[in-house]
Amino acid sequence: MPRFIIKRLLVTIPTILVVITITWGLIRLAPGNFYSGEKRLPPAIEKNIREKYGLDKPWYQQYGKTMWNILRHQDFGTSLNFRGQSVNTIIRRSLPVSAGVGILAYLLALLIGIPVGSIAALKQNSRWDYSSMAVTMLGISIPNFVLGPILVLVFSLSLYWLPPSRWNGFFSWNVLLPVVTLSAVYMAYIARLTRAGMLEVLRSDYIRTARAKGLSEKDVVIRHALRGGLMPVVSYTGPALAFLLTGTVVIEKIFALPGLGNYFIQASLNRDEPLVIGIVAFIAITLLLMNLLVDIAYAYLDPRVRY
């Protein structure tokens, strides 16, 4: 197992570098630049700007300098758009918002999805089964940018139960709608995965053996079936995190949350190179690490898996 971890980490590093390089390349290849968009500035002013940001040097020098800063000092530079703020600071500030909403959303999804799916599997073909599967299918099909505004319309603007979008820190009611909206699709997906996993496990021979031993149905389900039945959900966590990320970007736009996603969009639109690279690199690292964690968890839960 330790060898596996090290191997993975070793692969991670070049991957990140490649991702950073691709991002950098895309930004540089694109027509136009950050200071003027498509417009042309008078040559003197343009020359000044280029000198100031070191853009007059050859491209490989610029690339080298960027990479050097990143690798040696973990310094992603200063944002071109948000005057004077270092990219690292921006990330540090906005990360808790995004991560918080994302994690809460996923936990909520697990909290509701797993029981719903399990009960649906246990009561297969009952009314509960059909109705919960219909609802989850809806959940998967309604995009979060449709669900979000509708929830706002209903709960904030019509019923006045919840405050409309804005960020008030974590422990305010403002968190509820974004988290629920983000969570919906995963809740639905996890419920379906749980149901399918449990159904498959409940049909297996070892469950029959457990029953033949005289165990109560409750013990059969909790002690024997759940372990195997939840494996698909564990596998799903890896890719789910990737999608959670993009979901967060949309949620932040809808609810105007000052998170990583929002900064990313702005940085992309403004061609704020250091910030874009910084955020992309950060996201890539996080994803790779989380996937590694999921794989380790999987090995821990399934004794047959040996790396």
Partner: protein, 355 residues
């Protein structure tokens, strides 16, 4: 966003195997629970041709029959077909009958340049003209939603085709050749799998925003196709791996058929089952991704509009003109809903092949 990365799509198995045997007893080795081969070998291997072609035909029909029995899947199929037809012909029909194009702005009458709720005329009374209302500039929503459908569906299908092409080729080659090449190729897939694709695509699209709207579309196709080919490659590879040691392949090799031909004329057609299912499930995912991108402003650019960009416009005004968001949103949800049911139904219909 939804993606089913769990390769062995674990969904419900019917209580009977396709041969009508109740799935209850110990898996008795003598009871056949393996799906019949859907092998349709090409003329290259003549001695098996007659046998397998006959088998192939009746199996697809079996699957089709099973699909038709699944009411939800049929519902999905019907709705998808209806919406597709409506999107393709709708805007043209509306133009012919009512005179609106989706871009039609009634600029000669200031009273009409505002957002009307559904089924309301300018005087506030009931009117059939705008079943979905109008947007802020007075454009008919119904026509816009249908036209948005054109773009959304178009992008969904083409991008899925792109991902199919890449994924099938990649997976089939990796699976057939096997060994170190396969290992390498799949490692690459694993690494690519953990990349934040949509983020990179956002960067790509934002950097190249100045392209023409058509150019933007092409970029979208390629970008979206590049997101979903990975799982397709994995599925195809898995299928190829299990098929490649079967007799018809050995026979083809024995008669000297070239590797390329074996891969593409013999093996790939036999992977069609899972491929069709996964493609049907990929379309809604891709559409959702496109909608996200358009919602954020990176996808389809004006004057073209997709359901995503319509929703973006509508979300702004959710407080005052909620119908601007609700109609494109509900239409999109309905389409995705139906596609998902259809995909599920296909998966159940082709059941024996799935496991």
């Amino acid at each position: 966003m939804t993606d089913d990365p769990v390769e062995h799509h674990p969904e419900d198995q019917p209580a009977l195997t396709p041969l009508g045997v109740p799935r209850v007893e110990t898996p008795d080795p003598d009871v056949i629970a393996v799906g019949p081969e859907m092998a349709v070998a090409e003329a290259d291997v003549r001695w098996t041709e007659g046998d397998e072609v006959i088998k192939g035909r009746s199996l697809w029909r079996d699957a089709w029959r099973r699909l038709l029995k699944n009411k939800l899947a049929v519902f999905g199929l019907v709705v998808v077909i209806l919406i597709t037809i409506a999107s393709i012909t709708g805007p043209w029909l509306i133009h012919k009958t009512l005179g609106f194009t989706p871009d039609y702005i009634p600029s000669n009458d200031v009273r009409l340049i505002k957002s009307f709720p559904p089924f309301t005329g300018p005087d506030g009374k009931f009117s059939w003209t705008h079943p979905m209302g109008t947007d802020n500039a007075g454009r008919d929503q119904f026509a816009r939603v249908l036209q948005g459908g054109q773009i959304s569906l178009f992008v969904g299908i083409i991008s899925t085709l792109v991902s199919l092409l890449i994924g099938i080729s990649y997976g089939a080659i990796a699976g057939y050749i096997g060994g170190r090449l396969d290992n390498l190729m799949m490692r690459l897939v694993d690494v690519l799998y953990s990349l934040p694709y949509v983020i990179l695509i956002i960067v790509l699209l934002s950097m190249f925003r100045s392209q023409t709207p058509r150019g933007q579309l092409v970029l979208l196709f390629v970008a979206l196709g590049a997101v979903s080919w990975l799982t397709m490659a994995r599925i195809v590879r898995g299928q190829v791996l299990s098929l490649k040691n079967q007799e018809f392949v050995l026979a083809a090799r024995a008669t000297g058929v070239s590797t390329t031909r074996i891969i593409f004329r013999h093996l790939v057609p036999n992977t069609l089952g899972p491929v069709i299912v996964y493609a049907t499930l990929t379309i809604p995912q891709v559409m959702l991704t496109e909608a996200f991108l358009s919602f954020l402003g990176f996808g389809v650019q004006a004057p073209l509009s997709s359901w995503g960009s319509l929703a973006a416009d509508g979300a702004q005004n959710i407080a005052i003109y909620p119908w601007q968001l609700i109609f494109p949103g509900v239409t999109m949800a309905l389409t995705l809903f139906s596609l998902n049911f259809l995909g599920d139904g296909l998966r159940d219909a082709l059941d024996p092949q799935m496991r």
